[in-house]
């Protein structure tokens, strides 16, 4: 039987990552967690997760960066906030899932063809282009990018939506796209400035 290290040494954890999580909006109360597990009990998706929400919280605050960011858990969270309202320590678990997702996208550690981060990215791209989201185009785009075969399985639903007049193929767009662009550009400029300052 080959020997395998089951527990990490403290030195193998990324304390900086733990610090970062606590410093984010929503991460503030992370260290107050008493590991009661009510988040995992309330979560309708925990039975599909590789780490339950309780374990993600503990791993995140101890600096198990790789385990947390490459987990399926963060992508399975559907933002239903059941954990958030149950948590006796008022930890913003849903927001922690969001910030972990953002970090995973930033570091490119999510599973490549996994459709959820792709959806998030394409959703953003569509807003930048049109200011609004057309569900038909978004879903079509998503399936073409991730799984052709699954797209075929969606044809029945597509026909049903067409029959009931719930599908549109033209992107809906706002009038003042330039205005929205300016808002987003201003934030990009701010972020650039921040990064520059951090370096110097």
């Amino acid at each position: 039987m080959p020997l395998e290290q089951k527990v990490k040494y403290e030195s193998e954890c990324d304390r900086e990552f733990a610090q970062w999580v606590v410093g984010q909006i929503g991460g503030e109360n992370l260290r107050h967690c008493i590991q009661c597990g009510i988040c995992s009990a309330a979560c309708p998706l925990s039975l599909y997760m590789d780490y339950t929400p309780r374990r993600i919280i503990n791993l995140a605050r101890e600096g198990f960066k790789k385990e947390v960011l490459s987990s399926f858990t963060i992508w399975l969270c559907s933002s239903c906030y059941a954990c958030r309202v149950e948590c006796p320590k008022e930890i913003h678990i849903t927001d922690i899932m969001y910030l972990l997702k953002r970090r995973a996208i930033e570091e490119g550690v999510y599973p490549r063809s996994f459709p959820i981060p792709v959806l998030a990215r394409e959703f953003g791209r569509m807003i930048f282009m049109f200011g609004r989201v057309n569900e038909t185009l978004l879903v079509t785009d998503l399936f073409l990018r991730t799984n052709w075969f699954k797209f075929l399985g969606m044809i029945g639903l597509g026909l049903n939506l067409m029959r009931t007049g719930r599908m549109s193929f033209l992107p809906d767009t706002i009038k003042r796209r330039g205005e929205l662009r300016k808002v987003l550009d201003a934030l990009d400029a701010e972020e650039k400035k921040e990064k520059k300052e951090a370096l110097s």
């Binding site: 909006i25 309708p44 998706l45 599909y48 399975l76 559907s78 933002s79 239903c80 906030y81 059941a82 958030r84 309202v85 849903t94 969001y98 910030l99 997702k101 953002r102 996208i105 459709p115 959820i116 981060p117 959806l119 998030a120 990215r121 959703f123 953003g124 569509m126 807003i127 200011g131 609004r132 989201v133 057309n134 569900e135 038909t136 879903v139 998503l142 699954k150 399985g153 029945g156 639903l157 049903n160 939506l161 029959r163 009931t164 007049g165 719930r166 549109s168 809906d172 706002i174 003042r176 205005e179 929205l180 300016k182 808002v183 987003l184 550009d185 201003a186 934030l187 701010e190 972020e191």
Partner: protein, 287 residues
């Protein structure tokens, strides 16, 4: 009473029946509703996973436009829009650094955000501004003998609900009783419908939707009544897929604005009743 209306993308797309019935009912009740000019997508749950500050700024643009155009309350019927707009108000109030960034970015585009607007749900308006007693006066065709399962889903009651209980919401139950129907008791009122997982990870998402429709049927509901376009889409649109994976349930999912409109005697065509993929005709025939 006058309100601004933030439709969001779904009410212009797959949730068209929600917009149709919401506008028809509000008009018939004498409530004036004006669509927010040049509104943009709220960012929903998806965009928060990509960029936090930009998510707040997207919602912030809508709120700034609302402030500029009037001092009316904004009605957001879609649960995701309702949550995101309220979350933005709260987030910008509590985090000065975030607020500075978002306010500056909006300023760069000539917009001014102060955080004065109230974001409300149409159910809140019907129950608290109009009131059940006044609603009762408009009910001309009560839905006698019909049984509905009230389904609130996640994001209207959690985490920022201002008008109902987070664990056991009752406002829609009151509305169901006000239209003369019976409210089925079931424990899944606020359980997740699967959200976008029905599309992205059907092996997980469909199960969640299936649990809901199966239980509603088992408890004797003729239809599920909901207040969210994504919940309606999941419970109504995926029943064929659920049938091939688990079992056929066949239960229609209506919006609360649709049943109210029917009880007020508004024509079905104005309420988008035919937009249901699982037809409600058979259930409604029993009126």
């Amino acid at each position: 009473m006058k309100y601004l209306y933030f439709p969001g993308c779904s009410l212009k797309g797959t949730g068209r029946a929600y917009e149709e019935s919401f506008l028809a009912v509000f008009k018939a009740l004498g409530l004036e509703v004006r669509e927010l000019e040049d509104w943009n997508c709220c960012g929903a749950t998806a965009y928060m996973s990509v960029d936090e500050t930009k998510s707040y700024a997207l919602a912030g643009r809508n709120l700034a436009i609302a402030e500029r155009s009037s001092d009316l309350d904004v009605i957001a019927p879609c649960s995701a829009c309702y949550l995101v707009l309220n979350k933005t108000q709260k987030g910008l109030k509590e985090n000065p650094e975030l607020r500075r960034k978002v306010v500056n970015a909006l300023k760069a585009a000539g917009l001014d955000y102060k955080g004065k607007v109230r974001v409300r749900h149409p159910l809140d308006v019907l129950i608290n501004d109009v009131g059940v007693e006044k609603l009762a006066k408009f009910i001309t065709k009560p839905l006698k003998g019909m049984k509905f399962a009230p389904y609130y889903g996640c994001q209207v009651v959690r985490p920022y609900s201002t008008f109902d209980d987070q664990y056991n919401p009752v406002t829609m139950d009151k509305l169901i009783e006000a239209v003369g129907a019976e409210c089925v008791s079931w424990p899944l009122k606020t359980r997740c419908c699967g959200g976008s997982l029905t599309g992205t990870l059907p092996e997980v998402g469909l199960r969640l939707a299936y649990i809901l429709i199966k239980e509603a049927k088992k408890r004797g509901a003729g239809a599920i009544v909901t207040l969210c376009p994504l919940c309606q889409f999941n419970l109504d649109g995926y029943q064929d897929k659920i049938a091939s994976k688990y079992e056929r349930v066949d239960i229609p999912t209506l919006y609360f604005t649709q049943i109210l409109g029917l009880a007020m005697g508004l024509p079905e065509s104005e309420l988008g009743i035919k937009r249901g993929i699982i037809s409600a005709e058979a259930v409604l025939a029993g009126r």
